[in-house]
């Protein structure tokens, strides 16, 4: 404070403004006088929906320098009117969680620990295993000779936290592959 100008010394400002008790503007710091809310500095604000429960509360996502700096309720949503529950209020932390895993990990059979795998290799390996297990578990006909055309070698669990479009692609791919053991939290 004093660095700016000795005249800005709050004691002098107190004298000038008559704020003898030093309560108000006489004692503010330059930082305080320049305060702005973080969300007002965002590069963009994106409308979104809370990922937790099925109420579907509206969210506003504030992005600055390609980082989420704030997530708040969207007051325009007729569903939630800008309000969020504790989980919804924590969703900025969900995105920026300290414990979030951002790399692909692979655990080999019998291995005691993870190793890193690059994304492309991982997808390739999964595709190989998908094809093989599909073949291994294939059932063309049932014991009465009726068509089954399916595989019991692959199963999937999940979807209730996913988008409709994602569920659609999963169902489409699995069904085309003949995999029928697809389930999600709708039943759990």
């Amino acid at each position: 404070m004093a660095r700016l100008s000795p005249l800005e010394w709050p004691v002098l400002r107190q004298l000038r403004s008559g704020d003898s008790l030093g309560r108000g503007p006489a004692v503010t710091s330059p930082t305080t006088r320049a305060v702005r809310p973080r969300n007002a500095t965002a590069d963009r604000v994106v409308q979104s929906i809370c990922p937790y429960c099925a109420v579907g509360c509206g969210q506003l996502v504030y992005v600055k320098d390609e980082k989420v700096i704030d997530i708040e309720g969207d007051p325009n949503s007729p569903i939630s009117r800008g309000r969020l529950c504790p989980k919804g209020s924590a969703s900025e932390q969900l995105v920026n969680a300290p414990g979030r895993q951002k790399q692909v990990l692979y655990r080999a059979p019998k291995a005691k620990d993870w190793q890193h795998l690059d994304l492309d290799t991982a997808i390739d390996m999964i595709a190989d295993r998908f094809i093989e297990s599909r073949r291994n578990g294939w059932q063309e006909l049932d014991d009465q000779g009726r068509k089954l055309r399916r595989t019991m070698g692959i199963a999937s669990l999940g979807g209730a936290t996913l988008d409709n479009e994602e569920n659609y692609l999963i169902k489409k791919l699995f069904t085309a592959a003949g995999a029928i053991q697809i389930e999600n939290q709708a039943r759990i």
Partner: protein
């Protein structure tokens, strides 16, 4: 909900599970509505309700049945509504025998398979032959009227098929075979005394509840019920909901503002994931997956969904199915190859997650994708889940952080107990980092069927990617690897339409997927244009669309789910925010909000009404009814389809246009909700000799033993009832909450909630440790001693309940961890929905922490031995009173009922 005059929250803890949704309850309450909370625990919902009524977990049908009885015997039902809009007057087949006569069973039970033959439950026929519309003997539909045909889930947007809509009715309701009279007899034994005995609810509380709902129903007023997993997670979960539906229909509380039964769902897109299902038994839009032996031909399949002669919109299932197949296989789907119908794999029974688990343990399943879910913590019988995963060849876990389902091989409880050794586990595990909701665009469907689009805010970090991106690329990779294959079985994969436009990173455009779901004209003058409602879907292959109920979400090439007019616009139905299926209707069956003559029941509850001048239905919402069908219209019911709907048939997805008080089809465990005790219960069923649901799905295995029920040897070993639930501060199995410091600090440790009486009985202290033992596992938890958990007097005996939140799991990566309540839960399923019973089980509780290592296994085994629990306990003898059984088994090897009402 904000428009209701009375709100009954039962089997759901809305304030805790859906705080933001609860604002509408708060608002209604501030307006003067009465809020009643019926729950085993005094929860945060109870804290601001007008009254909390403590109920024993699993006894809801007794209470609801008694309310139905109260309404019927005191003549409190809404006469005009019930007569006009429900099947009260419809006659039931002469062959139908109720539980009154059969010791708690309905007619048609086969003790050998544990299933019902539904034929005798049908409506009476003019010809008197009994079957649900079987005018011509045993053709098609009727040849397979076994219980596995009854697929509640497949009727997520309507009722099951009837052969035709011509039913016998007695408008005076005097005929003893009318649904009304059947109902009256069935619920006669559900008395307030029985409620006191089995639910532990005083007569005073019962009267309060009964008066509240009846005084707040009718022309001027409405009552709404809200439920959650407290109802679904039982062996008769679907029947819990059915009984509320019956009550609501009798009171005229369906299809009107501030009425109905609200499912309060726990996941962002749980509705969406049943509409566009990642479920084994469904195709998008509640079309069933074909079943071997039933749907061997395309004709059989279509006939099985809906008869062309029944009423309502399901009669166009052929157009929906063909459009779906066209969307998937494009030009390869032609009339000649039945639109690639044979590319669809066939089911032969239930293939739910618990059957799949058994398949893993039997080494039949090699690979497993776990997508944003945490079965090691969140699925019933967690130990069985983890052991099953150790049998896999490979496992792909896609999540935001290293959840317990990704780390069980090195830090799961079985490593600690010595059952598994990391170096012996052959499973390959891929952990694929997922994108959060802000790092991808897409739509969620919320609990009231509203689709809302999320815009992408930024790119996912590191190697994280969305499921859309992952599966698109996986599909591309698989197709590339199989490109040269000539194998017949690879053709569905190779001919699949998998050519979505991509961005610079090769990621598919989610809007393009939404456009495919919406559907488009493939040929004809409008070729390439998006469909705008499902009525445009054709049977000649000129349209393609991935999910008929979502048609319209991309009408005019505009992403309707992305509509964001502040507040939803001026209309009370808030139409301009997102998009609701079907066809953007906000209240289903809203024709019922007007009286049979098309006038609003009252000015106060005005919503949709018939405008004589315009000759159409008008009001605050899109009418969920043929727009120009006059109230007095009485078309020939036999013409079938929507055209057959009379002007007073508001339930347009039901085969007879009426609300079903009695379900001649659609449920595999009875046409009327009937109380059975949970699989594990320290209480004897005083209503019927039949103790448990006879059709419950059980897994008689060493790793899924059940506790002896009341009255059998060893029932004192697991003397207490436990119930599992969630807390506001956490999310399901914790994958999205236990990794967040701000949420973790709010509920940092696993705990159990018990009454002071139980604490005294077992020497437990507040904030001390307790070990809870079930026939599956033993876990430890901190203790909260609280009056919020009541010791109830059931059948004159004190029944203690142990409350267990289920958010914690054993691992080292989360901010907070702890034992998983689901390890205690046994796998016993509702035959309709395949949902497990996690809301009521038997346990013991003792002071102190649980033992570690082998000693833990010994403890569980010791309890099992003392209780005499074996794979036979309460698993094999399904029928408690065999001589009550009168039905001849049908020699048919089909496996029992899959599917159902799963709305969770």
């Amino acid at each position: 909900m904000a428009n209701a005059d009375c709100i009954v929250l039962q089997g759901g803890n809305m304030a805790e599970a859906h705080p933001v949704g609860f604002q509408w309850v708060s608002e209604a309450k501030a307006r003067g509505a009465r809020v009643i909370h019926v729950d085993p625990r005094f929860t945060r919902t109870g804290a601001i309700a007008d009254r909390h009524i403590a109920i024993r977990a699993g006894s809801d049908v007794v209470l609801l049945g008694a309310l139905i009885n109260h309404v019927l015997s005191n003549d409190l039902w809404f006469k005009e509504y019930v007569l006009a809009y429900t099947n009260a007057a419809t006659l039931v087949s002469e062959d139908f025998r109720d539980t009154e006569e059969l010791g708690g069973l309905f007619s048609g039970f086969d003790p050998a398979t544990g299933q019902y033959d539904l034929q005798s439950w049908a409506y009476a026929e003019a010809g008197g032959d009994g079957g649900v519309g079987s005018p011509s003997g045993q053709a098609g539909e009727h040849g397979s009227s076994k219980s596995d045909r009854a697929a509640g889930d497949e009727h997520g947007s309507g009722g099951p098929s009837l052969e035709h809509a011509e039913v016998l009715r007695d408008e005076t309701l005097q005929d003893p075979r009318t649904v009304f009279q059947v109902l009256k007899r069935h619920y006669a034994r559900y008395t307030p005394q029985m409620v006191q005995e089995l639910c532990g609810i005083s007569e005073d509380d019962f009267t309060y509840l009964a008066d509240s709902i009846t005084q707040n129903s009718g022309r001027d007023r409405t009552t709404v019920f809200g439920y959650a997993t407290g109802w679904t997670q039982h062996t008769l979960g679907a029947q819990f909901i059915r009984s509320a539906a019956i009550l609501q229909l009798l009171l005229g509380n369906v299809g009107r503002p501030g009425s109905g039964i609200m499912a309060l769902r726990g996941h962002a897109s749980i509705q969406g994931s049943t509409d566009i299902p990642t479920l084994f038994n469904l195709l998008p839009g509640y079309l069933p997956m074909p079943k071997v032996g039933v749907h061997d031909s395309f004709e059989d399949y279509l006939e099985g969904i809906a008869s062309k002669r029944q009423k309502g919109y399901w009669t166009h299932a052929d157009a929906y199915t063909i459009s779906l197949l066209k969307a998937w296989w494009g030009e390869h789907a032609t009339a000649d190859n039945d639109w690639c119908f044979d590319y669809l794999p066939r089911l032969s029974g239930p293939h739910g997650t618990y059957q799949t688990t058994v398949g893993m343990l039997a080494d039949e399943v090699e690979g497993y994708f776990v997508l944003g879910q945490n079965p090691a913590v969140g699925s019933a019988n967690g130990r069985q889940q983890r052991l099953a995963m150790s049998h896999l060849k490979w496992l792909v876990v896609r999540d935001l952080s290293l959840i317990e389902s990704a780390t069980w091989w090195k830090e799961g409880p079985e490593i600690d107990s010595g059952e598994l050794r990391t170096e012996d586990i052959d499973t390959e595990v891929f952990f694929m980092p997922a994108a959060t909701h802000v790092e991808k665009a897409g739509s969620f469907t919320q609990t009231q069927r509203l689709l809302q689009w999320r815009h992408k805010a930024l790119a996912p970090p590191g190697e994280a990617q969305s499921e859309l991106d992952f599966f698109f690329k996986l599909g591309q990779r698989i197709r590339a690897k199989l490109a040269d294959s000539t194998d017949e079985r690879d053709r569905p994969l190779l001919e699949l339409t998998w050519d979505y436009p991509v961005d610079g990173h090769g990621d598919p455009d989610p809007e393009a997927v939404l456009a495919e779901i919406n559907g488009r004209f493939v040929s004809g003058p409008d070729a390439g244009k998006p469909l705008s409602f499902y009525g445009q879907m054709a049977t000649d292959g000129s349209t393609a669309g991935g999910c008929w109920i979502y048609t319209g979400v991309y009408a005019d090439g505009v992403n309707q789910a992305a509509r964001r007019v502040p507040g939803g616009g001026p209309s009370p139905s808030q139409h301009e925010w997102g998009w609701a299926w079907p066809a953007d209707r906000r209240i289903l069956y809203n024709r019922a909000s007007a009286d049979p003559d098309g006038k609003p029941w009252s000015e106060r509850k005005k919503y949709i009404w018939w405008d004589e001048d315009q000759g159409k239905w008008v009001g605050d919402d899109v009418p969920d009814f043929p727009e120009d069908r006059a109230p007095g219209a009485r078309p020939d019911p036999n013409i079938g389809g929507p055209e057959a709907l009379a002007g007073d048939d508001p339930f347009i997805m039901q085969a007879d246009g009426k609300g079903w008080l009695y379900a001649p089809k659609g449920l595999v465990d009875g046409p009327l909700p009937t109380h059975y005790e949970p699989w594990e219960s320290p209480v004897a069923n005083s209503l019927y000799p039949q103790q448990q649901s006879p059709t419950r799905v059980v897994f008689a295995r060493e790793d899924n033993l059940g506790a002896p029920s009341a009255g059998t040897r060893g029932d004192e070993v697991y003397p207490y009832v436990f119930t599992t639930y969630r807390l506001t501060e956490h999310h399901t199995a914790g994958g999205m909450s236990r990794w967040l410091p701000y949420l973790s600090e709010l509920q940092p440790e696993m705990f159990c909630e018990i009454s002071p009486a139980l604490a005294a009985e077992r020497g437990l202290e507040n904030n001390g440790w307790a070990t809870i033992i079930s026939p599956r596992a033993a876990i430890e938890a901190k203790v909260l001693v609280t009056d919020r958990v009541k010791t109830l007097t059931i059948n004159g005996r004190a029944v203690h309940q142990v409350g267990l939140p289920y958010h914690w799991g054993v691992g080292t990566h989360a901010v907070v961890s702890g034992d998983a309540a689901n390890d205690l839960v046994g796998v016993a399923l509702d035959p309709n929905t395949q949902i497990q019973e996690s809301k009521a089980g038997s346990c013991d509780i003792v002071a102190g922490r649980r033992p570690r290592g082998q000693a833990l296994l010994d403890l569980v085994a010791d309890y099992q031995r003392r209780a005499g629990a074996t794979v036979d306990t309460d698993n094999v003898p399904r029928v408690t009173d065999p001589e009550a059984e009168t039905v001849t088994p049908r020699p048919d090897g089909e496996v029992s009922g899959e599917d159902g009402f799963s709305r969770w």
